[in-house]
């Protein structure tokens, strides 16, 4: 604290620091609003002068173009806003799956950097250095070229059981919906409830006897058993929608297109290298003595990592991890280069069909702003849970 700290009660005069602070802030806000208003007004006036139509009214008109892949049926007669929605869901699909996969892979790689096995350490290090230092767009293009150039065409697709891999992507069987499968879902729900009960019991056992119960295999077993039981109760529906070879493409079944796979693989591998560094930094930040104390207590190496190191490391990891999640989501916009119909790709098409450049670009910006702020909020909430509770 410097000696010229203002007194605790403020004198509201022109010379008071607090007053000037408020004045400057108000001036700054007014200046920003004025600049934004000027830019928007100027743009609109210029567009009107040049006879360029503007406005968001086009969103309710029929889109008139098809979209290659969508989570739900989309028809070209549906309006533009629904086409945008398809783009948003496609972006979210690749972002969410990518975040989950890259977190798993990145955590494993980060932990691997502390392995006592030199080979594992070396592999993890080279992975991180390779994938972190090549531009992500190049990686996406590389995966796309590999998927479309190296894989065989559909008529000679690689086949394992009912799974096909070809230039057309990955085709797999999907269960045909039957009432019996509702029972399997109920079974799964019951399994979740059982797992929660098991965890409470295991915790109480640990506190009473000091004996640790399996925290992974038993819950997995419970979930699988309950789902299977429900499925059997529902009459065990086994009908599958199997992919079959057509003349030029694999038909029926479920499919992951090479565009989706390339974006997903590229983003996952790229982001995982950063997450590995974040995890490594987090673990390294936990004092050595903690690990030594854990082994002195007789914890195994696995338990040391899971029960002592990771919980403390998480506090350091979560904020930079949030950044990586945001980066992955934003990088998914590069998918436009390899033909994946994400929100940017759809906005590009809409922009060209309607000429509403300003509107389409601002919609895309809004989408990324909302998803990024949403991710931050979620991670912020998780961070506050993981933070040290100071009482």
């Amino acid at each position: 604290m410097s000696s010229d700290t203002p007194p605790s009660h403020h004198h509201w005069s022109w010379r008071s620091q607090a007053f000037r602070g408020i004045v400057y802030q108000v001036l700054a806000v007014v200046a920003i609003v004025a600049v934004v208003w000027f830019l928007a007004h100027n743009t609109l006036v210029n567009m009107r002068v040049r006879g360029i139509q503007s406005g968001f009214d086009f969103l309710s008109q029929a889109a008139g173009f098809d979209i290659g892949e969508s989570l739900y049926p989309f028809d070209s007669e549906q309006p533009y806003w629904q086409a945008f929605l398809v783009g948003v869901t496609n972006t979210l699909r690749v972002a969410i799956v990518g975040i989950i996969l890259s977190t798993v892979l990145g955590t494993l790689l980060g932990i691997g950097r502390f392995s006592r096995n030199a080979l594992v350490r070396g592999v993890c290090l080279s992975y991180v250095e390779a994938f972190r230092n090549i531009p992500v767009l190049l990686q996406l293009l590389m995966w796309y070229v590999i998927l479309t150039e190296v894989l065989p065409s559909a008529d000679v697709a690689w086949q394992v059981g009912d799974f096909f891999l070809s230039k057309g992507g990955l085709n797999y069987p999907i269960p045909v919906w039957a009432a019996g499968q509702l029972w399997a879902a109920f079974g799964l729900l019951a399994g979740v409830a059982l797992v929660l009960l098991y965890r409470r019991w295991a915790k109480r056992q640990f506190e009473a006897t000091g004996q640790l119960r399996s925290a992974f295999w038993v819950p997995v077993l419970i979930l699988v058993a309950c789902s299977l039981a429900g499925w059997a109760l529902g009459g065990a529906p086994t009908e599958l929608n199997r992919p079959v070879k057509g003349d030029f493409a694999i038909e029926n079944g479920g499919a992951l297109t090479p565009e989706f796979l390339a974006v997903l693989i590229g983003l996952t591998l790229y982001t995982a290298s950063f997450i590995a560094e974040v995890v490594r930094g987090g673990i390294a930040s936990v004092p050595r003595g903690q690990g030594e104390a854990a082994s002195a207590l007789g914890l195994s190496q696995q338990q040391e990592m899971r029960l002592v190191m990771l919980p403390q490391a998480l506090r350091v990891i979560i904020p930079p991890l949030t950044n990586q999640y945001l980066n992955l989501t934003k990088n998914s916009s590069l998918a436009v280069a390899i033909g994946y119909p994400d929100v940017v790709s759809i906005a590009n098409t809409a922009l060209n069909q309607t000429g509403r450049a300003v509107e389409c670009i601002s919609l895309v910006m809004l989408v990324y702003l909302i998803t990024s702020l949403g991710t931050s909020l979620l991670m912020g909430w998780y961070n506050s849970r993981a933070a040290i509770k100071e009482r």
């Binding site: 139509q53 479309t148 030029f248 590009n348």
Partner: protein
């Protein structure tokens, strides 16, 4: 009384001044082109025959020749053009914002583009139609066999919508795979990601000729599923510049119709007795004055690029690498659609 006389005189003087100044009045686009000494022309990023740069950075093609003809007419030198390669997404914004003076980039004229983009369509330089290209080994002979297939297409073009319309009308359920860059769309087709590639038939010929390893391995299906009148566009609100670009194109067309060529343009200036030819070459009436140009404007354009027929032959015609038939792009009196408004 005196004052009002002075006033009246002043008004009359101004009116006379305005009237006499009118023919020579040039739009602001022409003014800035003259002061800059360059026409800025938006062209394709690389479509052989229409607009593409060679390894030395020299631009050639039908669309490029239109720019050269305009530069020759306006600035007296066909080389005074700055080429700005634009992809499908960038092109309209580049023209609207004034980054380019003219957009000569195989762009289709449609109602929406005319009415909502603040642009003017000048004159058609190539009548095209959208088609499909497939590998010969696919044994597909007609677009109607593309049921449920993937088709590669570049985004932000009329092509994308035509494909949807056609697929819907014929109940084909075609799955488009949409790429932002032309090169990416072409690559995806050639690696076998899509069974077919669709764009304007001229573009298919260009791609087959320039990108395919063995052009004979790919066939262009007989169906043309749309009308694609292609031609340059200019900004709205500068009618003088609009007229110049439009009339340079009509001049090139009329030059072909009346047999004025790159080779004979100089000799015809002195020898021709045909009133139409004399008007085109500015040896009788001064047609350039009305456009804010000099009377040699069209002669210079023809000298620089040849007439429309020569431009067509050199860049896309049967004897060029692309080998496109003249077809509907022939003169109106030879069974085609090219019908220039009279230069008079």
């Amino acid at each position: 009384m005196r004052i009002s006389t002075v006033k009246t005189l002043a008004v009359i003087a101004t009116a006379i001044g305005t009237l006499t100044a009118l023919p020579a009045h040039a739009g602001k686009t022409l003014d800035s082109i003259k002061s800059r000494g360059q026409v800025i022309c938006g062209v394709n990023t690389g479509l052989a025959g229409f607009g593409a740069a060679d390894s030395a950075g020299k631009w050639t093609g039908l669309d490029v020749d239109v720019c050269r003809a305009v530069a020759a007419a306006v600035l007296g030198d066909a080389e005074k053009v700055k080429y700005v390669p634009l992809n499908a997404q960038q092109r309209f914004t580049a023209l609207q914002s004034g980054e380019v003076d003219v957009l000569s980039r195989n762009t289709t004229f449609t109602l929406t583009r005319d009415a909502s983009l603040g642009l003017n369509l000048t004159a058609v330089t190539y009548y095209d139609g959208q088609g499909f290209m497939v590998p010969v080994k696919s044994k597909i002979k007609s677009a109607t066999q593309l049921k449920g297939q993937t088709v590669c297409v570049q985004s932000g073009t009329t092509t994308e919508k035509n494909l949807t319309d056609y697929s819907k009308a014929k109940g084909l359920g075609i799955k488009p795979v949409v790429f932002e860059q032309l090169e990416a769309a072409e690559n995806a087709y050639f690696t076998g990601r899509c069974i077919a590639y669709t764009t304007d038939a001229s573009g298919l010929a260009s791609t087959r000729n320039k990108v395919a390893k063995v052009p004979a391995d790919h066939i262009i299906l007989p169906e043309l599923i749309s009308k694609e009148p292609l031609g340059p566009m200019v900004r709205r609100g500068d009618d003088e510049w609009y007229a110049i670009v439009k009339w340079v194109i009509y001049g090139l067309l009329e030059a072909e119709e009346y047999g004025v060529t790159q080779a004979n343009v100089d000799s015809l200036k002195t020898s021709s007795t045909d009133p139409v030819v004399k008007r085109i070459l500015g040896t009788s009436e001064d047609t350039g004055k009305l456009l804010g140009l000099d009377k040699e404007w069209m002669a210079r354009a023809i000298k620089a690029t040849g007439n429309y027929g020569e431009i067509f032959e050199r860049n896309v015609g049967p004897k060029s690498a692309l080998g496109l038939p003249r077809g509907v792009n022939n003169q109106w009196n030879k069974g085609g659609l090219m019908y220039a408004y009279p230069v008079r």
